[in-house]
Each structure stands twice: as structure tokens, then as C-alpha cells.
């Protein structure tokens, strides 16, 4: 700690240059924080996936429905402890741009399957008991100003009612939420009671979109998945069963391999920062060779002076990194507000902070090591010659 004032003074020897360099690092880490948050939001489904949950869809396409009659057969598979199902509703609210996921589900089975979704017990009870009931994610409800107890008019792009209309009306009986930000993104949806939906639709009765299956032992998940698919082999509705995480990752990749894209952008950004900051550090140290020789003259060892130069580089990157990440955190609320809940909630996760700390260390070392080694090898008499 006693060297910190010396490091600080050396770092801000040329204030304008240091501030500009720090700003470039700030921008890099701000981008890092934001892009990681976007990536996490996209992958939140996979991150919050339960290893004990399997998803069963039609073998050749997720848009092909499966018979609801599969449910009791699935329940009888050894190792399966619960079965729920959901169907895609294809909803829009008021106009085309207000689109969000709506799933027709068996309320009790579905909410039991996803205990990470929080709902008030009375509202859960109302959802189970109300045939026209619906529950909505908190962010979605706030976005459209929905209140529990109101009618929820939703148009479907797929399912017509028996009268040929695409307009449906449900009773909003509850709000679902989640404390974990990674899970909260998955609550941006409306769940409607399948009992009413299935009875009131014109086509596709007795069918559902997919099954969610809970198994007793995650180790047995793949065996059970294979057994289920084997069970329906050569039937008119063959199945494809896979762990929920695998399904979520595959689904996210349909949008594009966001992880790879983010990684490539960040590599480009940090490579630029590495060159820029490395050049600045090298220049700053080159200008101070006689001063560093003086430190050695008065008794600082080669190692101590080397550590000072490395420390300076690390301090520079750490200041920029901390400011950039703090700026990313500060921007999150306004970004979340700007997306109006159309996007999973953005947040800077603890793992992102850890990654940022690792980046600070790696970048600091990469930037500081070349000039530090030069100083380490510097002969005092050569260094002092710059002052003669």
C-alpha cells in the first residue's frame, strides 16, 4: 500500500494522456458488460434449465403437435415423477407489434414443474380452478398495465375458436415472477388454462405442443429420454426427447450463435485496447527511463521496479475496468426500461464481474509486461545516461 501514492502519481504524470487511455478502457469494459448481459439474457433459458427436466417434442418438428393421450404413458415410464404439457398459442395483444409467448397449460402440473416461478398461493389456486384463467409474467403485466381481475383479450395467429374467430378472452387471475434475474426472463409470458383452450378451439383438440417431464435422477435422464422415444417409435407421432438445457441451447442457436458473435466482437475490442494501451504504457515508461534508473539507484531492486511498472499497468486497466463495469450496471435499468420488457431482463451477473476481473489481470499483464521487462533489464548507468 505504501507504494500506491507513487504508482498513482506516476500514472497521472500526463493527465490528459492517462484520462484518454482510461476512457478507452472504460468503453471496452462498458461494451463487455453490456454484451455479456445480452448474451446472458439470451442464454438465461439454458442457464436456468433443470437437469431433471426433459422436453419431448414431435420428432421432426416442434410445430407438429403430440397427442395429449401420451401423458399417462409417459407417467408410467420408470424414473418419471411428473409430466406437464404446453401448447403454443401464437399471441398478439392489441396490434401486431405486441407479441409475446402464450402457452396453454395444465395450471397445477405446469406450475409444479417450474417451482422457480413464484406466484401467490391464492392466485395459483384461482388459476387452477378458473377454466378461463390466465397468469402473466410481472414485467409483461407492468408493460401493458394489466391488473389481476381484469379480462385479457388476446388474438391468436394459429388457433381459431369454434365460431371461427381468432379473438380469445381470458381472466387474469395471477402474476408470476422470479427473484433470480436469469429465471425472470422466462416469466415474460402468459399461461392460459388448457382445459378451456382445448375445449374452445376449432382444430387440434386433444393435442399439445410438447411435454415437460421431470425425472427422479438426473443421471438417468438420457436413458429415460431414449426409452420414451423408443416407446413411440413407428407410431404416427414419433417423439424427440432431450434434456431441457440442450433444448434451450438449441433453441437459442436458432437465432444465431450469439455467444460466438459476442466473443468475436469482444476479441476485436480488447485487441484494439491492448494495442492502444500497450503503446501508451510503452511510451510512458520510455519517457521515464532515467526516473526509473533513479529508483534503482536509491535502492529499489530490479524486481521492485518491475513490479511498480506492472502495478501501474494493472492500476490503469483496473480503473478503466471498474468504471466501465460500473457504467454498464448503471445503464441496465434504463436499457431494461427502453426495451419495455420485450427482451429478457438485462443484468450484470457475478460471473461477468469475475470475468471482468480476469480480463483486467490478463490485459494489465499483457500491457505491462513488455515495458516492465525492459525496466527489469535496464542497467542503471544506461538509464541515468538519459539525464546526462
Amino acid at each position: 500500500m505504501k507504494y500506491l501514492p507513487l504508482l498513482w502519481a506516476q500514472l497521472f504524470r500526463k493527465k490528459a494522456r492517462t484520462i484518454l487511455t482510461v476512457l478507452s478502457v472504460v468503453v471496452a469494459f462498458l461494451l463487455f458488460g453490456l454484451l455479456e448481459a445480452v448474451q446472458m439474457a439470451f442464454e438465461s433459458g439454458a442457464d436456468s434449465a433443470d437437469a431433471k427436466r426433459l422436453l419431448t417434442i414431435a420428432r421432426y418438428s416442434i410445430i407438429e403437435p403430440l397427442p395429449m393421450s401420451y401423458a399417462p404413458r409417459l407417467e408410467r415410464v420408470p424414473g418419471v415423477v411428473a409430466v406437464a404439457w404446453a401448447d403454443w398459442f401464437g399471441a398478439r395483444y392489441q396490434n401486431e407489434s405486441n407479441a409475446f409467448p402464450v402457452f396453454a397449460v395444465d395450471p397445477a402440473r405446469y406450475l409444479d414443474m417450474y417451482p422457480e416461478f413464484e406466484i401467490a398461493p391464492a392466485q395459483r389456486d384461482a388459476f387452477v380452478k378458473t377454466r378461463t384463467g390466465a397468469v402473466a409474467g410481472r414485467r409483461l403485466a407492468e408493460r401493458y398495465g394489466w391488473k389481476v381481475g381484469q379480462k385479457l383479450p388476446i388474438a391468436s395467429e394459429i388457433h381459431t375458436r369454434t365460431d371461427g374467430s381468432l379473438d380469445w378472452e381470458f381472466d387474469l387471475v395471477g402474476i408470476i415472477d422470479a427473484e433470480d434475474p436469469a429465471v425472470r426472463g422466462n416469466t415474460d409470458m402468459v399461461l392460459v388454462n388448457v382445459a378451456y383452450f382445448d375445449e374452445a378451439r376449432q382444430f387440434g383438440r386433444g393435442k399439445t405442443g410438447w411435454y415437460i417431464i421431470r425425472v427422479a435422477d438426473a443421471e438417468q435422464a438420457r436413458r429415460i429420454a431414449a426409452e420414451i422415444d423408443q416407446m413411440f417409435m413407428n407410431s404416427p407421432d414419433e417423439t424427440k426427447t432431450q434434456p431441457e438445457k440442450e433444448f434451450a441451447v438449441g433453441f437459442a442457436k436458432q437465432i444465431g450463435d450469439l455467444g460466438a458473435l459476442v466473443t468475436r466482437i469482444l476479441i476485436a475490442v480488447f485487441f484494439t485496447i491492448l494495442i492502444l494501451t500497450g503503446n501508451t504504457m510503452a511510451q510512458a515508461i520510455r519517457e521515464r527511463i532515467p526516473e526509473l534508473a533513479i529508483l534503482k539507484t536509491v535502492g529499489f531492486s530490479d524486481r521492485a521496479v518491475t513490479a511498480l511498472v506492472l502495478g501501474e499497468a494493472l492500476l490503469l486497466i483496473a480503473i478503466g475496468g471498474a468504471l466501465g463495469m460500473t457504467a454498464a450496471v448503471a445503464l441496465m435499468p434504463s436499457l431494461n426500461e427502453a426495451t419495455g420488457g420485450r427482451f429478457p431482463p438485462l443484468y450484470v451477473a457475478p460471473t461477468t464481474w469475475l470475468l471482468a476481473a480476469g480480463l483486467v489481470a490478463a490485459l494489465g499483464l499483457a500491457v505491462g509486461l513488455p515495458p516492465a521487462l525492459r525496466v527489469n533489464w535496464l542497467r542503471i548507468v544506461d538509464g541515468l545516461a538519459g539525464h546526462r
Binding site: 507504494y3 507513487l6 533513479i294 534503482k296 539507484t297 535502492g299 529499489f300 531492486s301 542497467r379
Partner: protein, 223 residues
Amino acid sequence: MSALVEVRDVTKTYRRGGETIEVLHGIDLDIPRGDFVALMGPSGSGKTTLLNLIGGLDAPNSGSITVDGQRIERLSSGALARWRAANVGFVFQFYNLLPVLSAQKNVELPLLLTSLSAAERRRRAEIALTLVGLRDRARHKPKELSGGQEQRVAIARAIVSDPTLLVCDEPTGDLDRATAHEIMTLLSMLNRDHGKTIVMVTHDPKAAEYAQRRFELDKGLLV
């Protein structure tokens, strides 16, 4: 007076391009404790090289240098750094203060290597600055000081860890006559009243007059 510095048969060569230049040829020199020695000679005679060897800033190619019983040419780089911190104070022509630090912090620099508390470092730096007459300039940065004041700060830095030996390379080379006189008076006081052994390189015969003994070097030999 016992010899504080014993230089025995020291040679020093440098390589410049493909050429080897012998700067010092078998130098022998004894400097007793409490002495004030001036090394004089034309440019390129090897006086600064000899000073650097005595101060442990460079190593001889052959021969030995013993300071206060310590064969310094045998010390490793780290041990030599510790030895310099404890035993030698340096004063240079161009002061070599760190421009980003105040006078006080510049003087405290060598004490950072000790286990002294911040308060004790500050106290000792204040004493050193008081000794050189710059107590009231402690918070000033080098660029806010005159050349003479900068050199006084450099001298305070050189004596703050109470070294036995002061090594001065052209301490008045960048100063006007009156300021040079002040600096030499200060160095004389440190030698006379505080028992510092001083080895000084100078071109200036006036500055050399303050020394108790003078040595002339020419082409790497003491003459």
C-alpha cells in the same frame, strides 16, 4: 582515519558497437572514512565510471571494491540494491528528482524500502529537508523549485537514510556560481559536522577546492 573505500586494481571496459573500450586501467584508491575527495579530469577520463563503481551502480571487469568492509563487486543485483539503499547517498548534476512527487515525497523515496511507518518516514524527511534549509518547501514539486533548491532536495534525499558515503556526480555542474557555493558549503557541512564521507566528481576547480583531497584521472589512470 581507516579506509572506508578501497579500490584495488580495478579495470572497466565497455563495448561500443564491435569495439571494446577500456575506461579504467588498474585503478588503486583508498578513501578514508570522513574524507571529502574530488575526482577531476577531462571528459572521458573515467571519473564518472569510477564514481559509479564506488557507488555500486556498475560492476568492474576485474579488481575489487571494498566499502566499509563489504566487497561490493561480489554482491548480487538484489543485494547490491539493498546495500546502496543502506550505505550510499547519490547526488547528480541534474538532480534526478521525480517530477510527479513533492520535495517531501522525493526525500522519502529511499525510506519506502524500509519498514518505517509513514509517520516516521515523514518525520525523517522533514529533518533532512530542515538540514538543507528547505523545510518550508516540502510540498513543492521540483518544477516549482529553483535549480539550487532542487539540488538541496536531492541532497536531502541522499542523506535521509543516514548513509556513510555520499557519491556526487558534478553536483554544481548545472548551477550558477553563487548557488554552487551554497551547495558546496552544504556538502562541506555534511562532511565536517555529520561525518559523511564524500566522493565527488567535478570539472569545476572552485568546487574541488571544498574537498580535502583531489585526484586527477586521465585516460583511465590516476595521475
